[in-house]
């Protein structure tokens, strides 16, 4: 098995599997302008938050951490940061500039609060960045330079039986090669947390896992929510999943068997190689956003009945083992594992083929989500704003 791919080596030593120019609005006031610049420079990727100065506490910290994470991301060659006032925009631009990549900041205050002026200047900056970025060339790099995020969405019983164990086998191979992997969706550890705790590298990690699950479980009890109908949701239930425990036990298979080195917060960079958990919401856009902001260059996304959401920054490989969905969603699913579910192929054989596809996508082959431009990158909100 070839364990190399062709990637973009960045100034800070990280490796991009894509070469995006990011046009990022860090305040809600400037987001329509960022999207207009994105339309004017179609090769650029846009990230646009609807939020701004009312955020405080952990929400404010999360916005900064996640937006800086998107900008610093190895798949981003250069970033244009757009916002309302200088200190905040400067702070995020500086946090991105640490990576050594070109960063420019554009502030409403410096453009007489005229969106058309911001559009004009931003379009020129993004155009220049895109041309300059196109000079980068791919070189041969090791599988171990990858960090992958693992996600499951619209799961069904085929997810826990085939698609998640398949993703888990890739995680095991990646971790053995010195790479990094991370998965979140804390509520989907509920009922399986004892198995995750057993894999923790030390007692403090086991305690962090237990505390994270307890916080979510209590939150749902305090809110008076019945998890049935929410998680598992109506689609999960129709497909045959009955309880959160059943869903969780299938969901954690996507993390393979590697030791769990720590629990990180949403969008927090992984401190080193190996497998990490992210204490994060389960809804796919929020979950994937956190994984990508933490530095995942690729996402393995398993689904049972289909789920079209992908990251815009990190190519997202859709894996499905449900034969009915696989037959229906030909332009959504990148890897059809239904032969394993139908007992026509082994998990080991499918793992080798998925790893081949992973390296191929890392080297530039487009996912369906990229072809159809489904990508979006968002940041969770945790509490009220001022």
């Amino acid at each position: 098995m070839s364990a190399h791919f062709e990637g973009f080596r960045r100034a800070d030593g990280s490796v991009g599997v894509r070469n995006h120019v990011l046009v990022m609005s860090v305040t809600g006031l400037t987001s329509p302008t960022a999207r207009r610049i994105g339309r004017a420079v179609p090769g650029a990727r846009v990230v646009a938050t609807p939020f701004g100065s009312g955020l405080f506490g952990e929400d404010a910290a999360l916005q900064r951490r996640a937006l800086a994470g998107f900008g610093r991301h190895p798949n981003v060659a250069a970033a244009l940061v757009i916002g309302g006032t200088p200190p905040y925009v400067r702070e995020i631009a500086d946090a991105i500039a640490v990576s050594g990549k070109p960063v420019e900041a554009l502030v409403l205050d410096d453009c007489e609060h005229d969106a058309i002026t911001v559009t004009e200047r931003g379009t020129r900056i993004a155009a220049r960045m895109l041309r300059e970025a196109s000079r980068a060339r791919r070189t041969r790099v090791d599988l171990g330079d990858l960090c992958i995020g693992i996600e499951c969405g619209r799961s069904d019983p085929s997810s826990g039986l085939v698609a998640n164990p398949l993703a888990g086998s890739i995680v095991d191979a990646l971790v053995a090669a010195g790479g990094r992997a991370v998965f979140g969706e804390t509520i989907e550890w509920l009922g399986a947390e004892h198995l995750l705790e057993q894999r923790a590298v030390d007692p403090s990690v086991a305690r962090a896992i237990r505390n994270a699950v307890q916080r979510r479980e209590r939150a749902s009890v305090v809110a008076g929510m019945d998890l049935l109908g929410n998680n598992p949701g109506p689609t999960n239930i129709a497909a045959g999943l009955s309880t959160i425990e059943e869903k969780s036990l299938g969901a954690i298979a996507k993390g393979g068997h590697a030791p769990i080195r720590g629990v990180v917060a949403v969008a927090e960079p992984l401190p080193g190689p190996g497998l990490y958990l992210m204490d994060a919401p389960a809804y796919a856009p929020e979950s994937v956003g956190g994984l990508v902001a933490s530095g995942a260059q690729l996402v393995l996304f398993t689904t049972g009945v289909g789920n079209s959401f992908v990251s815009g920054i990190a190519p997202t490989i859709k894996i499905c083992a449900n034969p009915v969905a696989a037959g229906r969603l030909r332009e959504q699913l990148d890897f059809d594992a239904s032969a394993v579910f139908e007992r026509k192929a082994s998990l080991r054989e499918a793992t080798a083929q998925l790893q081949e596809l992973l390296l191929d996508v890392a080297s530039g082959t487009l996912t369906w989500g990229e072809v159809l431009d489904e990508g979006d990158d968002v940041v969770s909100r945790l509490g009220p704003a001022l």
Binding site: S2, D156, P157, L161, L190, G191, A192, L195, D202, S204, V205, R207, A208, N211, A212, R215, E217, R218, S220, V221, V222, G224, L227, L228, I237, A239, G240, S242, T243, I244, E245, E246, G250, R261, G262, V263, A265, E268, P271, N322, D334, F335, D336, A339, V340, F341, E342, R343, K344, A345, S346, R348, E349, A350, Q353, L354, E356, L357, L359, D360
Partner: protein, 185 residues
């Protein structure tokens, strides 16, 4: 790598391992020998004899009901309160008697977690607390506000419980999330 990876990845279309399973020989599977439910790998009709592949044995169960692909069939008779085992782990408990061969789903199986009546909350009567507090403080709480006040008291009570039960880490460790949060400030 001798050939380019397939653009549309698909497992097992061309090659097959020497011990590749014969797909026609079983219709349901259970991953652990301790499981008391199996997953249907294809739609099953009522009255159909279903061959179940388990890690250590194969057994045949007559299905009492039609089953959709991915749905669960009981491998043994179960009583209310019995644990349902899948992946060798508890996925919840039976809410009714379940007969071997029956369909197992939300109509006869419920979660043991995140329950309103579960061990994660203690009995707290917010209305009784509100009445007692209002009397002690000589407050008059309008009838229209009482539901909101009670709901807020319930939240506060749960929060207080969480604070009281919080285990303060004994010493700082690089891999502990809570201590990292503090270090970042």
């Amino acid at each position: 790598m001798t050939a380019k990876a397939p653009l549309q990845g698909r497992a097992g279309t061309e090659r097959s391992e020497p011990n590749a399973p014969d797909h026609a020989s079983w219709q349901a599977t259970a991953l652990s020998p301790n499981d008391n439910v199996a997953i249907a790998l294809e739609p099953v009709a009522a009255g159909q004899d279903v061959v179940v592949s388990m890690s250590d044995r194969t057994l045949t169960i007559t299905s009492l009901e039609p089953l959709g692909l991915g749905h669960k069939i009981a491998l043994v008779d179960l009583r209310p309160g019995d644990a349902l085992i899948k992946y060798g782990e508890c996925i919840g408990e039976a809410t009714t008697s379940i007969t071997r061969g029956a369909w197992v789903h939300v109509h006869n199986l419920t979660s043991r977690r995140a329950r309103q009546d579960g061990a994660t909350t203690s009995a707290f009567d917010a209305h009784a607390y509100m009445r007692a507090a209002a009397t002690a403080l000589e407050l008059s709480i309008p009838a229209a506000s009482q539901a909101t006040v009670a709901a807020n008291l319930t939240r506060l009570h749960a929060l207080a419980q969480e604070v009281l039960s919080f285990e303060i880490p004994q010493h700082s460790s690089g891999s502990d999330r809570d201590s990292q949060e503090v270090e970042r400030q």
